[in-house]
């Protein structure tokens, strides 16, 4: 029977089993569960948000149903917590044992494979089937926290050189402005451009799953691997669906993580048949426009300064009661 591992002795056994299996014991987690046999822990697994990790079965008990029991339990508990899609990072060699449990391989690169429980990616692509247009299309992936004249400039320039431009707004809720607000700012700020469609990335691009370091803002080697998965997933699964031949990106003068991501794009996407075009940032009052600059000005309450950096539609939103509520809670309180 699968049980929660809570006591000090449970944890000690879990750490030992995870380490024996050649994995890292990595807190934090939302759930840590396992199966005991005569007082001995023989299977273990954990869930952190949407990610299942530290899955291990003692060698003498492999080949049976234990792994399935642990994963079932973690999925069931996660679902109760409101998580409706689950991911596993594992080595490509172990991917088939998870595929047998209806996990689908999303992308695999070198030492890491990313799998998803169920067929969320296919359903995500199917949901946007009507927006798929023929031609040589392009893509911009952006967080737009908030939507600035810099984003507008990038999108305008990109839209000129392709048949159709897809703007993927990062779905992940790790930003000052919540996703629905960001999506709306982008939609309103681009609604006059006839060949631009605004979509969401779901969990499949620049998310805490595919690219966790984007949200940590650090430049460690672990991040490089995960950037690679993010770009491979984009290049092999998302881009072909939308006939995307070019990915556009703003040149990154400030943020090291984003600059690394741009560099990774140049090495990973062209071999997959996707051209990468870096577009020079638009400047205002002597410096490149960026969303972080807008957020700094918001904190200082410099609304005149912001008016120079964002389109009217974004300014209207920032000054609406809904908008004010969002940016004052970050600064004043």
């Amino acid at each position: 029977m699968v049980t929660s591992l809570l006591t000090t002795d449970d944890l000690r056994q879990a750490q030992a089993l995870v380490a024996e299996s050649g994995l890292q014991f990595e807190p934090p987690y939302d759930d840590l569960v396992g199966v005991f046999e005569s007082g001995q822990l023989v299977a273990v697994g954990a869930r952190q948000g949407r990610v299942l990790k530290m899955l291990a079965v003692a060698p003498a008990h492999q080949g049976g149903s234990l792994l399935g029991e642990v994963v079932t339990d973690l999925v069931g508990r996660g679902y109760q917590e409101g998580v409706d899609s689950f991911f596993i990072f594992t080595s490509p060699a172990l991917a088939p044992s998870f595929e047998a449990f209806n996990f689908n391989l999303l992308v695999s690169s070198g030492k890491t494979a990313l799998l998803e429980y169920g067929d969320g990616l296919r359903r995500y692509l199917a949901r946007y089937q009507r927006q798929v247009l023929p031609g040589d299309n392009g893509a911009v992936v952006a967080n737009c926290n908030p939507f600035t004249l810099g984003h507008r400039y990038l999108i305008e320039r990109a839209a000129l050189s392709v048949d159709h431009l897809y703007v993927f707004v990062v779905r992940e809720e790790r930003s000052l402005f919540p996703f629905p607000a960001r999506l709306r700012m982008v939609q309103e700020g681009t609604c006059d451009l006839p060949n631009v469609t605004v979509l969401d990335t779901s969990w499949y691009a620049v998310s805490s799953i595919t690219f966790p370091t984007y949200f940590l803002k650090e430049g460690d080697p672990g991040g490089a691997i995960q950037m690679e998965l993010d770009l491979l997933l984009f290049g092999t699964r998302i881009a072909p669906h939308f006939h995307i031949k070019t990915r556009f990106v703003g040149r990154e003068p400030f943020c090291r993580t984003t600059a690394q991501y741009n560099a990774a794009m140049h090495s990973i996407l062209p071999p997959l048949g996707i051209e990468v075009q870096e577009i020079e940032r638009k400047s205002a009052i002597g410096a490149a426009i960026s969303a972080s600059r807008v957020r700094d000005l918001l904190v200082r309450g410099d609304l005149d300064g912001i008016a120079e950096l964002v389109p009217v539609s974004t300014l209207d939103f920032l000054l609406s009661s809904e908008g004010i509520k969002i940016w004052t809670k970050g600064g004043v309180t």
Partner: protein, 87 residues
């Protein structure tokens, strides 16, 4: 019966299935199965039969199947419906 909360039933072991139910305005059924090509229609018919039997007219039903036989499908789905509608 009306689905009032998000529930799950079943396991991902071989010959079993996972059922996920959640409230929705309309009824939608998605089925993923290792034997979808061979038995997809039969699975769907069974799911619809059980939903009709319990008078479920709205909700999002997601089935992830690993070759369960029809009585397993019925039992798992019935369990999920009872969990989703109790209290």
């Amino acid at each position: 019966m009306k689905i009032t909360k998000k529930v799950q039933a079943g396991t991902l072991q071989s010959s079993d299935l996972m059922v996920f139910l959640e409230p929705a305005e309309t009824l939608s059924v998605t089925i993923e199965s290792t034997v979808l090509k061979q038995f997809g229609e039969l699975i769907r018919a069974k799911v619809e039969e059980v939903l009709a039997k319990h008078g479920v007219e709205a909700g999002e039903v997601r089935i992830i199947d690993r070759g369960a036989l029809d009585y397993a499908i019925e039992a798992r789905l019935e369990t999920a419906i009872l969990r989703a509608t109790e209290g």
